[in-house]
C-alpha cells in the first residue's frame, strides 16, 4: 500500500488504518496455525490429553469385551456415571450454539471473538456425549436398532421412549452444529489457503483449499454466505432449547421420584447454558493468554459471559428451590423423601458440592473485580463445571439409589473403568480442541473484522 496516498486523504488514512487492523487480526489468528513449531504448553497439554484419551480407549475395550459389569452400576442404580457424563457433555455443548445462533440473531457483536471456539467446543462435547449412550447399552453392537430403518426383522423403534427422542434430538443437534461451524469457517479457511499458498506451503494450501470449497470472497458468495448463516442460525436457535429439553425428558417422563418433575426442561436448559459458558471460559482463558489473543477476546467479552453465568446460575438455584418446594407441597411422601435424602442422605456430599458450586460460587460474579480477574474466573468456571456434573449425578444416582421400595435401596460408587472412560472423554475433548486450535481458524476472522469499529468507519456521521 502506498503510504503517500494514504496520508493525503483522510478517508484513505482511515481505510489504510483499517486495512492494517484487519490484517493484524488475520495475522494474529493465523500465526497459531502457521507457527512452524507448536507452543511447548500446547505440546504438553496435547500429551496429557492423549494419555487420558488412551486410558479412555482402554476402558472402552474392557467395557465392550467384558460387559457393563465393569462399571459400578447395579440393578438399583442402573444409570450412574454413564448418563451423568452424557448429560453433562451435552450441556456443555449448549453454550456454543447459544453463542453462535442466539447471540447472532440478537446481534450481540461481542460473540464473534468466541463463537468459533464455542462452536468447536459444542461439536467436540457432543461427540464425547454421544459415546455414553452408545457405550452404556448392554449390547452396543446392536445400538443401531434405535435408528428407524426398514429391515427384514419388521422391527421398528418404540417412539414412546424418550431415549428415541434423544436419538433424534442429539443427532439433529450434532448435524446442525457441524454444518454451522463448518460453514462459518469457510471464508477463514480460504484465508488460510491463500496465506499458505503465498508462502509456498502447497500441501496445506491443498488441504485448506479443499476445505474452503472454492471460496473466492466475491460479493455474491458473501451474500449467499450471510443468508445461509442466518438460516442456519435460525435453525440452530430452537435447538438450544430443544436438545436439553428432550434430554431432560429422559428423566421427566419417568415415574421415579426425583425424576418425575415438569420443571426439568427449563431447568436443564438453564443448567446447560450455565455449564456451557463455564466450559467455554475454562478453555478460552488459558488459550487467549497462551496465544496472545487478549485484544480479540477482550475483557468485556469475558465480563459479559460472567453475567450470563450469574443469571443462569441463579435460574438453576431457583430450580433447586422450586424442586424442594414442590416436593413438600405435593404431599407425596416418596417425592418428599427423595429430596430430603438428596440433601441429607448418603449422597449429601454430591448435593453439597452441587449447591455450593452452582448457586454460591456464581454469586462472586456480582463483583466487577471478579469479572475482570481472569484467573479467578477460570477457577470459578472449573468449580461450576464440577457443580454441574454433580447436579446430574445427584439427579440420576441419588434418585435411583433410594426409590420406592426400601428393600432395594443401594449405594453407588464408581470403578476405575467409570473414571477411566470419563477421563478418556475429557482427553478426547481436549485433544480435539487442541488440534482445532492448532490447525483451524480458532477465531472467526471475517466476523471479527465485521464487528471491528474500523469496519464501520464510513458510517460515522
Amino acid at each position: 500500500m502506498s503510504s503517500a496516498d494514504a496520508t493525503m486523504d483522510p478517508h484513505h488514512v482511515e481505510a489504510g488504518k483499517a486495512r492494517e487492523a484487519f490484517r493484524a487480526v488475520t495475522r494474529d489468528v493465523a500465526w497459531v496455525a502457521e507457527a512452524p513449531r507448536p507452543h511447548k504448553a500446547w505440546l504438553a497439554a496435547l500429551a496429557v490429553s492423549l494419555i487420558l484419551f488412551a486410558g479412555g480407549v482402554y476402558s472402552i475395550y474392557v467395557l465392550v469385551t467384558t460387559g457393563i459389569g465393569v462399571w459400578g452400576n447395579s440393578n438399583t442404580v442402573c444409570w450412574a456415571w454413564d448418563i451423568t457424563n452424557f448429560v453433562w457433555w451435552i450441556g456443555i455443548g449448549h453454550a456454543g450454539t447459544l453463542i453462535s445462533a442466539v447471540l447472532y440473531l440478537t446481534r450481540q457483536t461481542w460473540r464473534v471473538s468466541i463463537n468459533r471456539s464455542a462452536e468447536a467446543m459444542t461439536i467436540f462435547a457432543v461427540m464425547c456425549a454421544g459415546l455414553f449412550p452408545l457405550l452404556h447399552t448392554g449390547r452396543p453392537w446392536f445400538a443401531w436398532w434405535m435408528i428407524p430403518h426398514p429391515n427384514d426383522m419388521q422391527m421398528w423403534p418404540q417412539f414412546r421412549s424418550p431415549l428415541m427422542w434423544d436419538v433424534f434430538a442429539v443427532s439433529t443437534y450434532m448435524t446442525t452444529s457441524i454444518l454451522f461451524w463448518y460453514m462459518g469457517m469457510v471464508p477463514d479457511l480460504a484465508t488460510f489457503r491463500d496465506r499458505c499458498a503465498a508462502k509456498g506451503d502447497a500441501i496445506r494450501a491443498i488441504i485448506y483449499g479443499s476445505l474452503s470449497l472454492g471460496w473466492r470472497g466475491s460479493a455474491r458468495q458473501w451474500h449467499r454466505y450471510e443468508r445461509a448463516y442466518l438460516i442456519l442460525a435460525g435453525l440452530a436457535t430452537p435447538l438450544v432449547f430443544s436438545v436439553h429439553s428432550v434430554v431432560s425428558f429422559d428423566f421427566a417422563t419417568a415415574q421415579l421420584p426425583g425424576w418425575h418433575t415438569t420443571i426439568f426442561p427449563p431447568y436443564f436448559v438453564a443448567g446447560a447454558i450455565f455449564s456451557g459458558f463455564a466450559m467455554v471460559f475454562t478453555l478460552l482463558i488459558p488459550a487467549r493468554h497462551l496465544f496472545n489473543l487478549k485484544h480479540i477476546i477482550k475483557d468485556e467479552h469475558v465480563e459479559a459471559a460472567c453475567k450470563i453465568m450469574l443469571a443462569t446460575g441463579m435460574m438453576v438455584g431457583l430450580a433447586y428451590a422450586s424442586e424442594f418446594f414442590i416436593a413438600w407441597y405435593s404431599g407425596n411422601l416418596f417425592e418428599r423423601f427423595t429430596f430430603i435424602n438428596r440433601a441429607f442422605g448418603p449422597f449429601w456430599w454430591a448435593y453439597f458440592l452441587m449447591v455450593s458450586c452452582n448457586v454460591l460460587v456464581p454469586q462472586a460474579f456480582w463483583f466487577k473485580k471478579v469479572r475482570r480477574t481472569p484467573i479467578v474466573i477460570f477457577v470459578l468456571c472449573i468449580l461450576i463445571n464440577v457443580g454441574m456434573w454433580c447436579e446430574r449425578f445427584v439427579i440420576i444416582a441419588t434418585s435411583l439409589a433410594r426409590a420406592f421400595l426400601p428393600a432395594q435401596w443401594s449405594y453407588y460408587s464408581p470403578t476405575r473403568y467409570d473414571i477411566g472412560l470419563f477421563a478418556g472423554t475429557i482427553g478426547l475433548f481436549f485433544t480435539l480442541f487442541l488440534l482445532f486450535f492448532r490447525f483451524a481458524p480458532v477465531i472467526a476472522i471475517s466476523e471479527v473484522k465485521g464487528a471491528m469499529p474500523e469496519a464501520h468507519a464510513g458510517k460515522k456521521h
Binding site: 447399552t137 422391527m155 418404540q158 432395594q408 449405594y411
Partner: protein
C-alpha cells in the same frame, strides 16, 4: 435291564399332564440288538404298504438302513476315498469319539430307541415320583425330567404328608423346601467325586473297593459303621442284618432331634415318642425355641397346617384364625410370623417351660427372679390365661436345641391343656432304642482314640468337619487302620479316610425313606449314575456279600414289610398309602428337674462378656454344611438377615452396642478355651446376651463353590461346638477384633450408619428408621391389620375404597363403567386370558422356597458374593423383609416381590427398541434378543424387579469340566446373554405349554374351547406357586370369575403395591392379618392398614 432302559425309562412315569398311570410293558423287548444286516425284512413300524414291501425287497429297506438311495446306487462309489465314504468315516469316528467320552455308557452298547417309548414325546417333560432325605427325614418329591435328564424337583402333590390344598379350590398342592429343590444342583455338580480313592487320595477302582469289602466280610464283628441318620426301611433291614453279624452301628447327625426323644422318655417312662402337632386344629400355637416353618422335620406339614388355620376362612371357621406365640433366642421365620414373640435366651427355655408347667400342670415354679422380669411376667400371664381358655385347642412345640427336660415339661404342659388327641398326637419312634446321636459319636470317637476300632465304614456324613470339636474326630480317625467313607464329595472326612467311595446322588439310585409321620416313600432314580457311585444300601449289601442292586434291595424290603400296595403302584405314586405310624396314647410319669444355673434363673439383662450364651443355629444355605457346594443355596438370602454367601454371628443390636461389636466387623467368640473369629451381623430381636452362631460355613473340602483348602466360604463354627455345649453353650465371650468384613447383604447395601440423625452405636434404631422415611412408607407398602378389626369392621379394606389414588386404580375397571383411565396412552381391552397373581402376606413365612423354585425353573444365574455386594443378584422373585417397632421387640414382615405385570407398565413405555412389550393376556413380555440393554426399563420400574445381565453370568458353563451342569437347564427357558434385561415372566413357558396342551386336547376331542378359551383353574401353576408350602402365592386367570386368583383379587384384603403410580399391577397382595391377644396389646405390633 439294559443300560439304555435305565436311562430312558424309569419305571412307571407319569406324563406332564393327566397323571394317569401308564402301565406300559417293558420296552426292552422291542429293541433289537442284532446288527442291521441280519434284521428280518418286516418294516420296523409294523405297517406295510404293499406285499412286496412285506416280502422285503431291497429297495424297501431304505427306511431301515437309512440310505437315501437304494443300495445299488451306493455300489457305484466303492472307492474307499470317495467323498461319501470319507464323510461316513469322519462321522463315525466323531460319533465314536463321543461314545468313548461318556463314562456312563461303557457297560453296555447303546442302541437308539427303535420306537418311541409310550410315555415319552420328544420335547415334553415327564414327571416321576421320588424322594429325598435330609437328616434322616424323608420328603416326597416329584422330579421333572426332560429327555432323560432330571431338571427340577418339586413336592409330590399326592403324597399324604404335607400335601393337599390350602386355598379353597386346590386339591393338589405340595410345597418343597429350599434344600430339597436345590439338591438337584448336586446331581450335575462337576465337583462330585467321580471314582473311588484309596490310601488318602490315590486313584482306585470299584473292583478294588469290592476286593477290600470281601476282605472285611471275613471279620464283620470288628467293623464299626458310622452312618448318617436314615429313615429308610431298606437300610433298616440291612442294618439289622449287619448288626446280627456283629457289626457295631453308630449314627450321627450334627442337627439332631434326639432331645425330643429323650424328653418323651423322661415324661412317659422310657418310651421314645415323636410328637406330631396338628396345627390346622390349633387356635393357640406356642413354639419354644423352635422354627416350625424351616427347621422342623415336619416343617412342610406344619407350614401347610398353620396356613390352614391361619386363614380367616380356613380350618378354624369363618373369622377365626390361630394365634402364634413364639419364645426364641435367634430371630427365625416362626418369630417373624408370631403374633407375640418373646426374645429369650435359649438356656431360659427351661425356666419358661417350668413357669408354664407350674401354672398349668402344677409343677415346680421357676425362681421368682425369672418371673419378675416385666416382659416375661406379662407375657406368661396372658399366655397361661389363653392356654387355659383354649383347652383342647392349643399346642406347645419345643425345638431341637432345648434340653430333654424342656421337652418333658412340654409334654406335661400339652397334656394339661388337652392337646393329645386334639391338636397333638404321639407316634412311636421307629428307632427308640438307638443311642442318641451325640452319645453315639462320643462313644465311637473314644473307642477310635483308644485304638479299639480297626475298621470304620462311614456312610455319608462329614464327622471330621461336624463332630463335636472336643472329640477330635479327625485325629481319632488316624488311629483307625481301615476307614471307608461313602460320600458324594471327597470331603474333609474322605481326605482323612483310607478309602473314599463315591456315592450316587438320590436321583441316580433306588431307595426308600419315611417322612416324619412314617409314610413310606419310594425313591426311584431318574438317570444312571453320572459318575458311577453306590448308594448307601448298595454299600451295605456289598458288605453283606450278597451284592444286589438298589432296586432289588428296595423291592425286597418293600415286600418284607408286607404292605398291600403293589410295588408298581408304590413306585408310581412315590409312597405307600396308609403307612403312617399310628398314634399312641402314652401316660405321663413324674420326673425330677435339674437345678437351674444362675443365668437361667434370671438376669436376662446379663449381657456382659463371660456370661453370654452361644446358640448353634442351622444354616439356611448349607443346612449343617452338607450343601456347601450349592451355589443356588448360598445365593438365596437368609430369611431374616438377607445375607448371602457367608455364615456369621447373630448379635442383638443392643447386645452389640453394649459389647462394642459392630455390623460387618469380625468378632472373636470364645467358649471355654475354644474360639472362632467370624463376622458379626447385628439383628434386632435377638435375645439379649445371646449370640447365634450359624453352622455350615468354612468348609475346606466342599468343592469349588463351597470351599477348598485355600479358599473357604463362611467360617467354621463347629470349632467351638463341643459335646458339653452342643445345642447352646454358656459362659461365652465375644470381643471385637478390629477387622472389618463386608457381608453380602442383599437388602442393606448402603451404609446403615450414614442416615440422618443416626446414632452410630445402634443400628436399626427407631430414630434411624424414622430418618430413612421408612415409618411413613411401610404402612403403604405392607398393609396389615388385626383379625379383630377385620371381624368388627366389615367395611375395612386394605385399599381405600374412595380416595385419590384409588379412583385412579379403579378407573377403567369394568365394574365402574364410564370412568375412563387417566393414562396418557390408550388402555388395552383384554379379551382372552388375563393372567394374574395374588400373594398372601398373612401366610408367607419367608421360607425362600419360591426363590429356589424360580431359580431352577427359569435358569436364573448365580452371580457370586462379590456381585451380590455390587447389588447385581439376579433372582426374579425376591422376598423383601422389613422390621418394625423397637430394636428389642421388632416385628417382621416378608413381602415376596416379582414382576408385578403392570397393565400400564412403565418399563414398556421407555424401551427405545420395544424389547419389552405387553401380551394380549396381560403379561409383560421380555424379548431378550431384541434388548440392547439401555436399562431404562429398570430405572422406570417402581418395584425394581428387573435384573440386568451386567456380565456374562453363564460363562463358566462353557468350560469343559462344567458342561455337565448345562444338562440342568430348563430347555423351555432361554439362557440369557450378557447385556440384556430379564425379569419374572409369570412362568410364560408354563402358560404356553398349558395352552398347547389344552388346544391339543380340544383337537383330539376333549372339552370344547379355543386356544384363548377358559382353562380349568389351576391348569397353569407358576414355579413359585408350586413350591410355596403355604400356598401364599396363587396364580390364575382373572377372566375366569370363579378362579381362586379372581376371588382373591376381589378380597377386601387385596391391594396393589404403589397404586399411585397407576401401573395397575396384575399381582396383588393380600394384607397381612395379625391376631394379637387383646390383653397383651402393649406387646402387640402396631396396627397398620386403613381402618
Amino acid at each position: 435291564m439294559s443300560q439304555e432302559e435305565e436311562l430312558h425309562a424309569p419305571d412307571h412315569g407319569r406324563e406332564d399332564h393327566g397323571h394317569e398311570d401308564h402301565d406300559h410293558e417293558d420296552h426292552a423287548e422291542h429293541h433289537d440288538d442284532a446288527p442291521l444286516a441280519d434284521l428280518p425284512p418286516t418294516p420296523v413300524h409294523g405297517y406295510w404298504k404293499s406285499l412286496r414291501e412285506l416280502e422285503g425287497a431291497a429297495e424297501f429297506q431304505v427306511g431301515r438302513t437309512g440310505h437315501e438311495f437304494p443300495p445299488e446306487a451306493d455300489q457305484a462309489s466303492k472307492d474307499p476315498l470317495s467323498r461319501r465314504n470319507f464323510f461316513q468315516l469322519m462321522g463315525a469316528s466323531m460319533a465314536l469319539a463321543g461314545v468313548g467320552a461318556c463314562r456312563r455308557y461303557e457297560k453296555e452298547e447303546i442302541v437308539p430307541l427303535a420306537r418311541r417309548p409310550e410315555d415319552q414325546t420328544p420335547g415334553i417333560t415327564q414327571q416321576y415320583a421320588t424322594a429325598f432325605e435330609l437328616g434322616g427325614v424323608g420328603h416326597g418329591l416329584l422330579a421333572t425330567a426332560f429327555e432323560g435328564r432330571p431338571i427340577k424337583l418339586d413336592g409330590n402333590p399326592e403324597h399324604p404328608f404335607a400335601s393337599g390344598g390350602i386355598v379353597p379350590g386346590t386339591a393338589r398342592h405340595a410345597g418343597a423346601s429350599t434344600f430339597a429343590q436345590a439338591s438337584i444342583l448336586h446331581l450335575y455338580d462337576p465337583d462330585r467325586s467321580q471314582s473311588p480313592t484309596s490310601n488318602h487320595g490315590t486313584g482306585s477302582s470299584m473292583e478294588a473297593v469290592r476286593a477290600a469289602f470281601s476282605d472285611l466280610r471275613a471279620e464283620l464283628a470288628k467293623v464299626h459303621v458310622l452312618s448318617e441318620a436314615t429313615s429308610s426301611p431298606t437300610a433298616r433291614a440291612l442294618r439289622t442284618e449287619l448288626i446280627g453279624k456283629g457289626v457295631t452301628w453308630h449314627e450321627y447327625e450334627p442337627l439332631s432331634w434326639d432331645n425330643e426323644r429323650a424328653g418323651t422318655r423322661i415324661a412317659f417312662g422310657d418310651r421314645s415318642l415323636r410328637p406330631l402337632a396338628k396345627l390346622d386344629r390349633a387356635e393357640t400355637i406356642v413354639t419354644l425355641d423352635c422354627d416350625i416353618f424351616i427347621d422342623h422335620p415336619a416343617a412342610l406339614l406344619y407350614s401347610r397346617d398353620f396356613a390352614r388355620s391361619r386363614r380367616q376362612s380356613g380350618s378354624l371357621g369363618i373369622g377365626k384364625m390361630n394365634r402364634l406365640w413364639t419364645i426364641e433366642s435367634v430371630f427365625t421365620s416362626t418369630g417373624a410370623m408370631a403374633d407375640h414373640r418373646l426374645a429369650l435366651r435359649a438356656e431360659q427355655g427351661l425356666p419358661f417351660a417350668m413357669a408354664l408347667d407350674a401354672a398349668l400342670a402344677g409343677g415346680v415354679s421357676p425362681p421368682a427372679e425369672f418371673l419378675k422380669e416385666s416382659k416375661v411376667e406379662k407375657y406368661l400371664k396372658v399366655l397361661v390365661d389363653e392356654l387355659k381358655q383354649n383347652k383342647g385347642k392349643a399346642v406347645v412345640i419345643a425345638g431341637r436345641r432345648q434340653p430333654a427336660e424342656v421337652h418333658a415339661l412340654v409334654a406335661r404342659i400339652n397334656d394339661s391343656i388337652g392337646a393329645p388327641g386334639n391338636t397333638l398326637e404321639y407316634v412311636e419312634d421307629p428307632d427308640g432304642d438307638r443311642p442318641a446321636h451325640l452319645r453315639s459319636i462320643t462313644d465311637l470317637a473314644k473307642q477310635m482314640a483308644a485304638g479299639q476300632v480297626g475298621t470304620l465304614i462311614m456312610i455319608g456324613g462329614n464327622p471330621v468337619y461336624d463332630a463335636p470339636a472336643d472329640l477330635a474326630f479327625g485325629a481319632a480317625l488316624k488311629n483307625v487302620k481301615t476307614s471307608i467313607h461313602l460320600h458324594e464329595y471327597r470331603n474333609e472326612t474322605s481326605q482323612l479316610a483310607t478309602w473314599h467311595v463315591p456315592r450316587a446322588h438320590f436321583l441316580e439310585a433306588w431307595g426308600d425313606v419315611r417322612t416324619w409321620d412314617g409314610t413310606i416313600t419310594v425313591a426311584q432314580p431318574l438317570i444312571a449314575p453320572l459318575y458311577g457311585g453306590l448308594s448307601a444300601i448298595e454299600l451295605c449289601s456289598l458288605l453283606l456279600g450278597d451284592e444286589q442292586n438298589g432296586q432289588e434291595l428296595v423291592q425286597t424290603a418293600h415286600k418284607a414289610l408286607g404292605h398291600d400296595a403293589p410295588w408298581k403302584q408304590a413306585v408310581h405314586d412315590g409312597f405307600v398309602a396308609n403307612t403312617r405310624w399310628s398314634a399312641v396314647q402314652p401316660s405321663l410319669v413324674s420326673f425330677q428337674l435339674p437345678a437351674l444355673s444362675a443365668s437361667q434363673q434370671g438376669g436376662s439383662l446379663r449381657a456382659a462378656n463371660g456370661e453370654l450364651e452361644v446358640v448353634f443355629h442351622p444354616s439356611s444355605f448349607t443346612y449343617d454344611g452338607r450343601f456347601a457346594n450349592n451355589a443356588w443355596l448360598w445365593e438365596t438370602p437368609d430369611f431374616m438377615t438377607k445375607v448371602t454367601w457367608d455364615n456369621y454371628a447373630l448379635v442383638g443390636a443392643n447386645t452389640a452396642a453394649a459389647l462394642g461389636l459392630e455390623n460387618d466387623t469380625i468378632i472373636k467368640v470364645k467358649i471355654g478355651d475354644r474360639e472362632v473369629e467370624l463376622p458379626c451381623y447385628t439383628i434386632p430381636g435377638q435375645a439379649k446376651g445371646s449370640i447365634g452362631l450359624v453352622l455350615g460355613g468354612g468348609r475346606t473340602a466342599a468343592g469349588r463353590v463351597g470351599g477348598t483348602a485355600t479358599r473357604s466360604v463362611g467360617w467354621d463354627t463347629y470349632k467351638v461346638r463341643t459335646t458339653t455345649g452342643w445345642d447352646f453353650a454358656t459362659k461365652a465371650t465375644a470381643t471385637p477384633t478390629g477387622k472389618s468384613y463386608t457381608l453380602a447383604n442383599i437388602q442393606e447395601h448402603w451404609d446403615i450408619r450414614t442416615g440422618i440423625g443416626s446414632r452410630p452405636e445402634i443400628v436399626h434404631d427407631e430414630v434411624h428408621v424414622n430418618a430413612e422415611g421408612l415409618d411413613e412408607r411401610l404402612p403403604e407398602l405392607i398393609r396389615e391389620t388385626t383379625n379383630k378389626t377385620l371381624n368388627d369392621n366389615r367395611s375395612w379394606r386394605a385399599e381405600e375404597a374412595e380416595g385419590f389414588f384409588n379412583d385412579l386404580a379403579n378407573a377403567g375397571n369394568k365394574d365402574r363403567p364410564g370412568e375412563g383411565g387417566y393414562s396418557l396412552f390408550k388402555e388395552k381391552d383384554y379379551q382372552g386370558h388375563r393372567w394374574a397373581m395374588a400373594i398372601d402376606l398373612s401366610t408367607c413365612t419367608g421360607c425362600n422356597a419360591c426363590m429356589v423354585a424360580c431359580q431352577a425353573e427359569n435358569n436364573v444365574p448365580v452371580v457370586g458374593r462379590k456381585e451380590v455386594i455390587n447389588n447385581r443378584e439376579m433372582s426374579w422373585i425376591r422376598i423383601d423383609r422389613y422390621f418394625k417397632g423397637s430394636v428389642e421387640d421388632p416385628t417382621v414382615v416378608h413381602q415376596p416381590v416379582g414382576c408385578q405385570h403392570c397393565e400400564q407398565a412403565p418399563c414398556e413405555q421407555v424401551c427405545p427398541v420395544g424389547a419389552t412389550t405387553h401380551s394380549d393376556e396381560g403379561l409383560n413380555d421380555m424379548a431378550y434378543n431384541r434388548c440392547i440393554g439401555t436399562r431404562y426399563c429398570a430405572n422406570n420400574c417402581p418395584y425394581k424387579v428387573r435384573r440386568f445381565n451386567f456380565l456374562d453370568w453363564n460363562k463358566e458353563w462353557r468350560e469343559a469340566r462344567n458342561k455337565v451342569r448345562r444338562l440342568l437347564f430348563n430347555p423351555d427357558v432361554t439362557v440369557r446373554m450378557r447385556g440384556v434385561m430379564e425379569k419374572c415372566t409369570f412362568c410364560v413357558q408354563r402358560i404356553q405349554n398349558a395352552k398347547i396342551r389344552t388346544k391339543a386336547a380340544v383337537r383330539s376331542g376333549g372339552e370344547p374351547g379355543t386356544i384363548n378359551g377358559p382353562m380349568p383353574d389351576g391348569t397353569v401353576e407358576t414355579a413359585c406357586q408350586q413350591a410355596c408350602p403355604t400356598e401364599a402365592i396363587v396364580f390364575g386367570d382373572l377372566s375366569d370369575k370363579d378362579s381362586r386368583v379372581a376371588r382373591l383379587h376381589d378380597d377386601r384384603r387385596s391391594y396393589a403395591l404403589l397404586p399411585e403410580t397407576y401401573t395397575k399391577p396384575r399381582n396383588r397382595f393380600l394384607a397381612r392379618i395379625r391376631n394379637p391377644n387383646p390383653n397383651l396389646v402393649a406387646l402387640a405390633p402396631q396396627q397398620g392398614g386403613h381402618e
